[in-house]
Structures are given as C-alpha cells and as structure tokens.
Symmetry: C2
Subunit: 489 residues, 2 copies
C-alpha cells in the first residue's frame, strides 16, 4: 500500500507517493527503539532536557516550511498551525524542565522500622521505572501537537522511554519532515537514531503490527473511538498485555442555567459559536452537546447562537472521509429524533455549521444521540429541571470536559450539577469554552469511557509523564543502589 498527501482544500493529491511500512520495517524500528532504550532509561534528566530543548528549537527553526506543508495537508490555516507549533515547542521544553528537575527520579524513602510485622518492616525505596519503547499513534487533527513530536513523544522521552511513531496518513509529508528534523538532532547530540523511530501506513495493519510487537511496552493514541478501541483490543490480545493510553471520542456537554445564558447574551453566543466551529469543529474538546433548561432566556440565547453560527464560515475538513462522516453523523442525529435548527447541506469540502435540538427524555433513551459527531455540529438537549440535567450527564457517561455556566453560587442545585459533571469527565470549566487545552501542572485531559481508555491518566499536562513510569519497590536496597536515588541503573 502507498500513502499520498492530499490538498485538504482541493481534494487533489500532491507531492511524493510514500510506501507503507512493511512488517520488516516495523520490526527494524522497534528493535532500534529497544536498543536505544537500554541507555536512555538510565540517562540524566539534563540529557533529556537537552534533547527536548533541541527538538523544540528545530521545530521553530523550520517553522515556515513546516507550516506550509501542514497547511496544505490539513487545511487548518496558518494562524492556527502557527499557534500549534508554538504549543508543541512549549510542551517539549516543559517536559525538558520536568526531567531536569528530576521528577522522573522522584522516590519515596521508607526507612526500616524495627520489630515484627505489621508495624515493623524492612527498609523500602519506591522508585519509578520507564516502561520501554512506546508506540505513539498520531492524530489527524493536530499535525504537530499530537503527532511526531507531540505531547506523547515529549512525555515519553522525558520519562526515559524511546518512541516509535505511527505517522498519521492525513499528513504524511509533515510527519516525514518533522521526523527528519528529529534525526538531525539525534545525530548532532550523538544519540541513537532509534530513540525516535517512525512507521507509516494508511491501513490498520501497520498500527496493529506496531502495538503487537513484543518489544513495545505501551501505546499512546489520540483519535476516534473506533480506531482507539481497535488498537486497544490489539494491545490486549498480546501474549503480554501492555498499557494503552487512548484519547478517544468526547461530546463535551455545555450546561448553562437560564440566568447564565441571559447574562452572557450576544458575547457568550459568539464565543460558543466560535468554539463549535473552531478548526471546523475538529477538536476533541469541541462542544457537541448543549444542555439547556427550558426558559424564555434559554430560547432567546439559542436565537443568538443560531445567528452567530450562520455567520461562521468553516474551512475545509481534514479529509474527505471526515467530511462524509460529518454528514452521516448529522443525518443519524435527525433520524434518532433530533430536529434541525440549522442544517444547510452543501456539496463542498467546507461544511456548514449544524445545530439541532431534542428533549432530554428522548436524548437519555437514545444511545445514537450520545455519539460524537466530529465537525462543526452541536445538539441542544432541553431539560425541565436540574435533576433532569444531571440525568443527561449520567447518560453521556464519559467526556473529556463539561462546561458549567452559572455555578457561581453555592446552592443545592449547583452542587448537584458540579457533582454530576465531576462524576463523568476529566475537566470541568466554569467559564469560557472547552476548546483549548492548557499545557500546565493541573491539567487533566482524559475522562471515563468513551473519552479515554485510561481515565486515571492524562495525555496533556505535567501528569502525562506518569503514564510511562511504573512503580517499583526496592527492599533492603544495597548502598550503591540507594546512592542512585531512584535512577535506573
């Protein structure tokens, strides 16, 4: 099989035709990553920081060419891609700081307590071991931040793991160019080229072959629920199952009190319309569900939202396949009982915004309506009470985010909403819109199924590092090993 770059705005092929990786290619890449891991797991934090800083610098130095290529392959536009490259460099450097500060080597020193058990115990040292070579599956919608040098790669390298990237077929030339930069940096720093390997392929064989390679120790994935579930199943079918960190689909409910909608008015409607259509709706935190309580204020807000959405001009979607999936998704919502408020079918790569509505009882009863529709589309769910709003959140069950507008006062109703939101998502926003995920100490990007395969972990923020470090207790540790203070030897 071959790979071909497609101009997202024209649907026409451009550039070289690339070959899919063969089973032998995958084996070579993983063997090289395994060999590189042997030394990298024992590297100093400063060495990891040096590499991560150099990678950030390399991205920035090649900015113009990278942006041009990524823009043609994805159609996401230069301003957005410029910001994404900044973010990617930022998180590389941030994980460099984390490594330099010794976070991967933090340990618990638990001195011996004399006497018999249960109170008495031997000296224990709790450290963390890098898992090994990580299979990193790139996303379609973030050609930099969740791709070759994205947060998964940055956090895995900082943790002391090597990486084999599965490039996304939606931006093969951008991936190839970034990987070329990586190889230059590795060579300049005298590090093995296998530390960051790359394979590619449009079919599922390459991904399955990679995650099932016996020397792969973990998987990290950002993409669709279907694709992530398939790779998770493949990871579990291994003779020795491994951790698989998948960020999958999410519908990101926005819950608002009538008072909050009235207070927010035009500006809030504009902000929400902008979030629904940002990047043509191709964000995992895209607000796909608007849970409003029936009231005049809510109805008035929906009119403002409709006007704001009509004025939006979404750009082309990442691929023609996604464009078709969007139409299928909106049709499925309407077939499942939703009524269209804004539905302007167009035969174009650039879709029009879509808005529909449904009552809460129909929503709760119909699982089809809980499915993510990837693109500039959102569904209003009308509820009669706070209790019904909580039922809607329970029916959704798992989401990366919930946005709660109007929770400023401590009331029983507000507490019920906060509790209902926290029970089923990884991040609750009390202001603003869910698109945009800060790379910061407290971030949690992951929630209960289907938003994530491992809801106890995060793929964005400082704690993303923890995914690749396994705790090990050392008992009666010899002096020479105690002196290493948690560093693998």
């Amino acid at each position: 099989m071959t790979l071909q770059s497609i101009d997202a705005r024209t649907g026409l092929p451009f550039g070289d035709t690339l070959s899919s990786s063969s089973a032998a290619d995958i084996d070579i890449a993983v063997q090289a990553a395994h060999a590189a891991f042997a030394d990298w797991q024992a590297s100093e934090g400063s060495s990891r920081a040096t590499l991560l800083d150099a990678l950030a610098q390399a991205l920035e130095s090649d900015r113009e060419a990278l942006l041009a290529l990524a823009d043609q392959e994805t159609g996401l536009g230069l301003p957005r891609l410029n910001g994404e490259l900044d973010r990617t460099a930022f998180q590389l450097r941030r994980f460099g700081v984390i490594a330099r500060n010794g976070v991967p080597f933090a340990f618990t020193d638990d001195p011996a307590v004399s006497g018999g058990p249960p109170a008495g115990h031997p000296a224990m040292l709790r450290v963390r071991m890098p898992l090994g070579p990580v299979a990193m599956f790139s996303a379609s919608n973030f050609p930099f931040a969740f791709s070759v040098l994205g947060g998964d790669t940055a956090s895995a390298l900082a943790a002391g793991c090597s990486v084999v990237v599965k490039a996304h077929p939606g931006h093969p030339q951008t991936s190839r160019r970034v990987h070329g930069l990586v190889q230059q940096i590795l060579q300049a720093l005298g590090l093995p080229s296998g530390l960051v390997g790359m394979v590619q392929g449009a079919g599922h064989e390459v991904g399955v072959g990679l995650i099932q390679h016996p020397l792969i120790a973990a998987g990290a994935f950002t993409g669709s629920t279907r694709g992530g579930a398939a790779l998770q199943a493949a990871a579990r079918q291994r003779r020795r199952p491994i951790p698989f960190y998948g960020e999958l689909g999410s519908i990101n409910p926005v819950v608002a009190t009538p008072a909050a909608l009235q207070a927010g008015g035009e500006a809030l409607a504009q902000a929400l319309a902008g979030s629904i259509t940002l990047g043509c709706g191709q964000f995992c935190t895209n607000p796909g569900l608007l849970v409003f309580q029936r009231s005049e204020a809510s109805s008035a807000f929906v009119q403002l939202l409709l006007q704001a959405l009509k004025a939006q001009q979404p750009h082309a979607m990442l691929t023609q396949g996604m464009r078709h999936a969007l139409d299928a998704g909106t049709r499925a919502q309407l077939a499942a009982g939703a009524s269209a408020l804004l539905h302007e079918p167009v035969d174009s790569l650039n879709p029009r915004p879509f808005l529909a509505e449904v009552d809460a009882a129909t929503f709760v009863a119909n699982e089809q309506l809980h499915e993510e529709v990837f693109g500039p589309a959102s569904l209003i769910v009308w509820t009669e009470s706070v209790a019904q709003t909580v039922q809607v959140l329970q029916a959704v069950g798992g989401s990366l985010t919930v946005t709660l507008w109007g929770a400023d006062q401590d009331t029983p109703e507000t507490r019920a909403l906060v509790r209902g939101a926290m029970a089923m998502c990884g991040r609750v926003l009390f202001a603003g819109v869910p698109t945009g995920v800060a790379v910061t100490a407290a971030q949690q990007h992951g929630g209960p199924w289907p938003s994530s395969t491992e809801p106890m972990s995060t793929s964005v923020g400082d704690a993303a590092l923890d995914r690749f470090l396994r705790p090990v207790a050392l008992q009666d540790t010899p002096a020479w090993l105690v002196q290493r203070q948690g560093r693998p030897c």
Copy 2:
C-alpha cells in the same frame, strides 16, 4: 446454588448451608452501595478514620471466634491467622490515618498565568474524585487481609468509595461473621448499611453479575490468573468499561549468585525452604522459581535446600480443588522437561514439598514452565551466565517480586541483574525471602502481566488508595468550590 463450609483438615462439611446471591440480591446490594456513595464521597477524612478505626477494633474484639472459624475453614493455623488479623486491623487504621491526614483531598493549585497560550492559561485546580461503588473480590488464601475488611475495602473506604464484597466460597462463615461486625459498626455510627455490602456464590455468575452491574465503578480482585482474567474480560464487556485491579498469578523468581549461596549456607537454605512451604505455599509471593548459576557452590546449596525441604511438614491446603491443582501443576512441570529433585506423591490433603530442576534454555523455550504452581513447590533453573539469567527473567516477563541475593557490589553484572529484575516486577528484594508484604508507604504489590492487570497500581501499601481516585481538573473554579479545597461537594 448453595455454599457450604468445608473443614480444610478433614474435607468434611460443617455449619449452615448458605444460599448463593441471586441477581436480585446483587442489584439490591449495588443499589444500596450507590445510595451510600452519594454522601460518603463527600465525607470528611475524620469520619472515614472513625469508621476504619472502629472496624479494626471490632475485628480485634471478636478475635477468638473469628480465628476459630477461619482456622476450620482454611486450615491456615492459629498463629498465622492471628498475625493476619493483626495486619488487617493495622491496615484499616493506617488508611484511617491517611484519610484523616487529608491525602484523598490533596490537590494541585495552578494559578492563572496572564497572556495568550501556550504560556498563559486560566486558573486550574487538580483534585481527585472517588470512583463510586467498588466490587471487591475476596481471596481464598487471606480470609482477613484480602477479604471482607482487607486492604481493598480499607483503601476504597478511605478514598470515599462504597464497597460490595464478593465473599470467597472457601471461607463463607468467616466472611459472614466479619460482615456482621461491619453491619454492627455501621449501625452504631449511623452510617448506611449499604456502605459495605456483601454477596456470595460458588459459581462465576455472582462475580460476573457484580462486576457487570451498571452502577459498579471499579473492581478489585486477588486470586488466580484464570479467575482474574475472566472477571477482567467481563468488566471490559460492559457498555462502559471500568478499571479492574486484579492481583493474579506470580512465580517470584529468586536469583542468587554462587557466592551469595555459599555465604548464606544452611541458614539461607532453611529460610528459603520456610518461604516455599509457608502457609503450604499458598502465598502470591511464594518463591516458585530459583534461578541459580551452575557452580559447585550452587549445587552444594541445593543439597542443603533439599534437606531443609524434606524436613518441612506442610499443612493441608485451603481446598481439595487446590490440592488437586498442585499435583496437576507439578506433573505438568515434569512433563514439560523438568526433573524432580524432591517429589513424594501422597494421597493426603497435606502435600509434600516439591522441588524440580531444568536448564535455562529449556525453561525459556517452554511457556508451560512459566506458569504458577500454587502450593509448596519450586523449580530450579540452571543458568550458565548472568546474561542467561537475565534471559530467564525476560521469559518470565511479569512477577510481583524478584529476590536478588548477591547484588551488594556495583558491578556490570549486578547492574544487569538489577535492571533485568526491575523491568519485570513490582518489588525487588535484596535480602530475605519474598513471602510477607509490608503494609507501608513505599510498598508496590503489583507487576507486569500476569502478576497484575494494572501494573501501574498497587494493592498493598499507601498508594493502594490511588486506585479509587480519578483526577479531575477544575478550570476557573468559583470561590465557594475553591474553598472546599478538593473535597467533592
């Protein structure tokens, strides 16, 4: 179906016949746990500590009757069971201290940084939410410490979760008596009886029904690889998969240099024989594999070990089924190429110690030899070099513990052994024997498959709490909620 206590020493039934829980019983217990969770998740640490302390006290106050019952059902003997009850009370109180100290409510305060992304970001608060009702599957071999009031229940309650225990059919009356104590304490403290529910059954239907109940939020299991894998599969088949923390089988390699064996001599051989036969070998940390480098010193040590093992008089196994499984396991080892060094088949509930040997190449090539044999049995693997010893560890792949005798000096060989051990287990011991798991801050009881389904977590030690708390980021949190500092509302 019914349940019947069996006297482990005679194989004869005694006491009441108990009924297996029906699907309706399971639903009632889970609904009650769900209702109890609503308030318990928001309880103060001091309330949790009060409950855990009272449960510890209740166990101690009923010690005599509990030990008599458990001894008859399990045959583990009063000294061991007495120590296990002490340990169980200790860990209940320890998790009480952890809750009182506010560990479940620890949070990351991440103030806003002005400016645009990626450096600028809104105010974030990272807290942890209790998961919900936990399904807790008791172990056969620890009627107190991994049963109704064991570490899983203690850590789940401390985390703010409610619990539904699946009692083990090997000690139904002990379980019933402990659960009766729990109910008395809950009533005395004015807490809902559903906070710690219990179901029971000898078949797999009760366990599957429990883990697949839609209101169950996590599973915790200690037992066989087969049983754990089946429940894990059931947890994954749910419409909404949930975390399943299983502690499964482990063969716990003991690796020793010839010099260490020579230095240890008679005393070390006695200690190892005691560990192999402790509790009739029915410990998850039982040393089932001895990896020795061929040498005169090693051969001499094996002779000492043989003498020490011959003198051991293991007590009856927990159940007749386990007794038969032991014979089948040792036969399978011999059929797979191992040679018996100590093999005295007896037609009795009390087995004789078993010791066999095999060369490293045969061991590495034969997966049958990597299987746990539950009971007083161990297999010597003869290696020719440190490199081959590391290959043996890689072939085992996953274990709760590795014991390394002779790693006192920092040499390339020692480093290779330490690295090989840390790569495939949760705890490395540099002295002593692996049986006995300290309940302490640095403990890690869990390792790569098949020893654990979630090797990033531990079922023993302070970090066991983390299994039941899911991170949630709060963005632009209102003042009233900030004031709660990470406590669910």
